[in-house]
Symmetry: C2
Subunit: 480 residues, 2 copies
Amino acid sequence: MRLTVDNINQHVVAAKYAVRGELAVKSEEYRAKIAAGDAADLPFEHVISANIGNPQQLDQKPLTFFRQVASILENPQLLQSEEALVQHLGYKTDVIERAKWLLSKVGSVGAYSASTGVPAIRESVAKFIERRDGFPADPSKIYLSAGASSGVNTLLHTICANPNTGILIPIPQYPLYTATLSLLNAKVVPYLLDESKNWGTDLETIRASYDKAVEEGTDVRCIVIINPGNPTGASLPEEDIRAVLEFANEKNLVVMADEVYQTNVFVGKFHSFKAVLRSLQKENPGKFDGLELASLHSISKGMVGECGHRGGYFELVNFDPEVEANIYKFVSIMLCSPVIGQCIVELMVNPPKEGEPSYELYQKEYNGIFEGLRERATALHKAFGEMEGVECAAPQGSMYLFPTITLSEKAAEAAAAEGRKPDEFYCMRLLEATGICVVPGSGFGQKEGTLHFRTTFLAPGTEWVGSIVKFHQEFLDKYR
Amino acid sequence: MRLTVDNINQHVVAAKYAVRGELAVKSEEYRAKIAAGDAADLPFEHVISANIGNPQQLDQKPLTFFRQVASILENPQLLQSEEALVQHLGYKTDVIERAKWLLSKVGSVGAYSASTGVPAIRESVAKFIERRDGFPADPSKIYLSAGASSGVNTLLHTICANPNTGILIPIPQYPLYTATLSLLNAKVVPYLLDESKNWGTDLETIRASYDKAVEEGTDVRCIVIINPGNPTGASLPEEDIRAVLEFANEKNLVVMADEVYQTNVFVGKFHSFKAVLRSLQKENPGKFDGLELASLHSISKGMVGECGHRGGYFELVNFDPEVEANIYKFVSIMLCSPVIGQCIVELMVNPPKEGEPSYELYQKEYNGIFEGLRERATALHKAFGEMEGVECAAPQGSMYLFPTITLSEKAAEAAAAEGRKPDEFYCMRLLEATGICVVPGSGFGQKEGTLHFRTTFLAPGTEWVGSIVKFHQEFLDKYR
């Protein structure tokens, strides 16, 4: 019997991943047409991929210190000509020192590392967490991963025991979570984020979702929080995090904190789940000692933006040692995460310090990227504010805006005639008219009766923002 | 309810992966002790990791051309000082040209690529397959992956539909296959390789395994072949491959050809499944047009040995387009394989050509590695030949030898008293006595009543070989 869509793994067939779905595929076709010089019939000259947080595909330049170190890791023979590196290629001495140190700990970046990552890099990560949180971290509980995605994959594979396992997932969410649960044939227990409160978590909503699932017989085991939010951009206040931890503790839920946007925060301050947990433990001795927390971070986002290198880590707090042994076995089957990506994790958690030769340039580049993101987010938010029927929370963090759009009955009918949801229809027309690829809100989940789209604010310039405004007005006029 | 080994995913708990199991963990503990200067009580001074094909952890140096190109990909600012690269750092002009070409196709190696890989690299792979096989290859059927392991993971996830799906797996095998089937809760349909014929495939054995599984109601869908073999080192003759393809065609089985050791061949010639399939199709028009083939390759092995970079690809032949769409979706959930690893795939399939500036050094390094492996394989094989109760097929390919060991009843009893299989017991004592880590045959599967271990022949020097010989004699004497 040949393989067909009807006889292969139906959990793969059922999985949905809109970020790289039909719109993304179509946008790549346009890009190829333009590259082939065959674009005379297109009403735009460029494709703008605002569908995915891929900083270096757009305007973001890599951080010089990181890439200089990486170049030596790739070719350690460069160290035979240190003088030339310094005099002719502008490498500072701290670049050379860091590369030597990493090579002494890693060996060759072409060799497999230990499955959980290079021990010295796990130690650097633990020290970073200590500095960030003001509480100790244990290097043996740090697992280096191929981006945060592979960490999520590992953790959900371990936690989900059978089709009755339920995981509390925020809606809207980054679809990695629902897609992975679909592959694992486990249950999504959705809880809606509160758009009226800047997409914060609402404990009553979470509790109601949990209670409903438990009543239906679901074995709810874990709550996922994405903070700062994807696709929402929300940056959670400390009291929301406390409330989630209190609830998880009460219900014996594993807390999975996806914190990959922790440096992309414009409003307020990032609070890590780990730090808030440790504070709660200090205030309430013994009370939280049974709570299991997994928190994830990545080199893909922030001012680092090195997603093509597939690096990241997760930290486990208070997991059973036998469970950890199984997590180790799971990651060892895929051998190890990319070693050069592990090294970039080290650079992310241990960047040049004040007074070191590379510090000034690093700081300038880092701040430049941060300010550029803020400016573009603000410009985009302003444009949305001027668009009829569009509402958008002020940008708080991450790389995304997630505006609500209100479309007419006529537009909804035209969408239905094409077999599409209204937001998909809108985003498809936007792509066709402007070359701008965004993701419809239905790809992340949204409250019934509401429509959204997610756009990154990574693309340079303001021309494309103008194109959205113009398209939107024409769309409204057409379906009025 | 807290997570425990009893309530987490029991398919993860059931999975076995001996290559990085208890022995490997213990060897890393020894390595850490030695590094900490705390090894006075150990009877050896070094740990030798012969448990895993990790060339650059041991003697193998990276190929200069590859790493020079990679260093520029990591830091394209080096191209602002081309003169310095050439005059002070010894970079040849073809290194610079290749790096420029890759950058023009890839953009930044820090950006996500398309989920199936950078289009231009997929084209390079297709051209390589055409040159290798003498038959055309379609770039749109090439999927770049994070090593071959992630390709195997993708394919088995798609093919295995339910607990009744069976996959024909050679025994002994690289345990990635049985571990992944365990995670997927699908059935291993084992077929024994024939040790008496240099570990070749025996069609009657395959047929008997298939028939038995079908009789038991198993839905057998796919046959896996590892050629050259892991752990056996066998290099299959063309007639064995023809026989497997004929059988798969008769039974409508997907053929999954793991060809990661295709350049590690000392005896005879590597025949790719794709080339043999195309020959069969030419000879028998129409007969094989329904056969589905997936073949996998990797940058981890061969003279490249860049396993830490996690690069590889698989090629699909004759898969249903809707099935391919689901494979695309599956890989897109993990975004893309590491981009610098993709670039090294490009260098592997398109190395310096005769007459190009880097050719001479590349050729010298490549041949030096090949000859070094052959010499060490031969020396190790010779040593095994001199050991009492050890039999080992002559080295044919891959990076491993897989000798049979005959142990006494007394040794088996001592093993049982420790709750170990006799081969595990033997390998544990070997590690404790010599610091040499090998993998017991039971980690790969072996014919009932036989015992083996797998060792790589990557470690430099001959001293460690002497240690094995000495340990073996002492072990025999102790348990005589």
